[in-house]
């Protein structure tokens, strides 16, 4: 047997050729992850910033940096169909880099997950849910006429909806981004899913969900509708939640009644059937984010989004059982670091939390 020295690139090529299906893709992604992990924080931020300015993850962005093109992380998306059964993840319909499947739900969540990955990477240098290149696994067509989408701790799952009250839960980019953000929270402050920490968990999912929709549509804070799930809840006048005006996303809906979310602590309620009202009380921090973003102006992700992301990742100031007040303090602390004590951004954040009674 003769030993032969080959370059890393040649080795990678050989690995690709010698393996089948997703494994060669795994090797490539693993290699990118390892190289990316060796960069220091400043290098990661520079890379992300250059790619963001170039409009996403493009190799052309690297023309302005000395970083090796192989370093660029990229998403690894896998979309399966449960074929209206309970089995997970189901039958693989589309994987990273493959052409559109022709199944509308599959292609919708593939694109939405891509936009979500790109948002986190280009703005925060975050490489996927766990910041270590985790695969984005999604299953569509779960059960029959299933009225829900959820994150199970490892993957996202979407129902087709009943078709009368709810359309497919793949219909809105903000829902996909919401579920992916539950994954991000799990790997960061890991807020307990009950009471105020649970409502914060839900709120962070909505806040990043709306920002990812705004970024995809290039909407600034004035142009955005600030609605979550407006295509999923059937009817032009309905959405599932509103960050601008919690409690008004749907009014006098024939089946659901009226949106029960409060926008202020005076409306805080402990609903034991929903882990202490996690889907209700999230309206309060949601509205604080809206107020701060509108007061600051421009694109929500430019300043207020940066503060919220840093707070979400600050496990010292945001413990797993964090209260709204603790999260408020975390946003203020991060804003002071980024923009200064007397800055308009810090004032906007403080005023916003005060306005919702936190």
């Amino acid at each position: 047997m003769r030993l032969q020295l080959i370059s890393a690139a040649e080795m990678k090529s050989k690995l690709r050729k010698s393996n089948l299906g997703g494994f060669s893709e795994d090797e490539e992604i693993r290699s990118r992850r390892q190289t990316y992990a060796k960069l220091n924080t400043d290098e990661k931020k520079l890379l992300a910033r250059l790619q963001f300015k170039a409009g996403g993850v493009k190799k052309s962005a690297l023309a302005r940096t000395k970083v090796d093109a192989e370093v660029i992380p990229k998403p690894s998306r896998l979309v399966y169909s449960a074929e209206n059964k309970r089995s997970l993840p189901g039958k693989l319909l589309r994987e990273e880099g493959s052409k559109a499947s022709g199944d509308m739900d599959t292609d919708q969540v593939y694109d939405s997950a891509g936009a979500t990955w790109d948002f986190y990477y280009s703005l925060f240098g975050r490489n996927s849910i766990d910041n270590a290149g985790m695969k984005l696994i999604q299953t569509v067509h779960y059960l029959n006429k299933y009225d829900n989408a959820f994150w199970d701790g490892k993957q996202m799952i979407y129902g087709d909806g009943d078709g009368k009250i709810f359309a497919s839960f793949t219909s809105d980019i903000d829902i996909t981004a919401h579920e992916l953000t539950h994954g991000v929270v799990q790997y960061e402050c890991n807020l307990e899913y009950k009471d105020q920490s649970g409502a914060l968990n839900e709120s962070l999912a909505d806040v990043f969900g709306i920002m990812i929709k705004q970024k995809a549509l290039n909407h600034d804070v004035r142009r955005s509708d600030w609605l979550i799930g407006e295509n999923t809840l059937v009817g032009d006048e309905y959405a599932i939640r509103s960050l601008k005006a919690p409690g008004t996303a749907y009014v006098n809906h024939p089946e659901l009644g009226t949106d029960p979310q409060p926008a202020h602590m005076s409306g805080y309620s402990n609903d034991p059937s929903d882990n202490g009202g996690v889907h209700l009380n999230s309206g309060i921090p949601n509205h604080a984010f809206y107020l701060a973003a509108v007061d600051t102006g421009g694109f929500s992700w430019d300043k207020i989004g940066q503060v919220w992301y840093r707070a979400m990742c600050n496990t010292e100031l945001v413990p797993v059982n964090a209260t709204f007040s603790q999260f408020k303090e975390a946003t203020l602390a991060e804003s002071i670091i980024l923009f200064g004590t007397g800055s308009t951004v810090t004032s906007a954040i403080e005023n916003a939390w005060n306005a919702v009674g936190v």
Binding site: F150, W151, K154, D162, F169, Y193, D274, N275
Partner: protein
């Protein structure tokens, strides 16, 4: 010995979900054999307890299910779902929860 069964309702409650709306379906157990109530009672504590979320679970926005019987609410467990006397009834109640 025959005796009259007092009307007693079993309620299946679905909570959570992305939209955060609770729904329930109920069944009058007086229409079922008495043994069904006896089986059910094994799964219910004697006093009211507050249902608690599974802290270890990382599921978010998933539906959660509770059973309410004689004013006591408990989380639906695998034991209950596996009980052959209760299994069919639970499936029927779950079907009613669809819009």
């Amino acid at each position: 010995m025959a005796f009259k069964i007092k009307q007693m309702k079993l309620k299946l409650i679905q909570t959570g979900g992305f939209a955060g709306k609770s729904k329930y379906a109920e069944e009058d157990l007086s229409l079922h054999p008495a043994q069904l109530q006896q089986e059910l009672e094994q799964h219910f504590p004697m006093s009211i307890v507050q249902p608690t979320a599974n802290k270890a679970s990382q599921s978010r926005d998933a539906f959660e299910y509770f059973l309410e019987y004689k004013g006591i609410r408990v989380a639906l467990t695998d034991d209950m779902k596996a009980n052959p006397f209760i299994e069919d009834l639970l499936e029927r109640l779950k079907d009613q929860l669809h819009y």
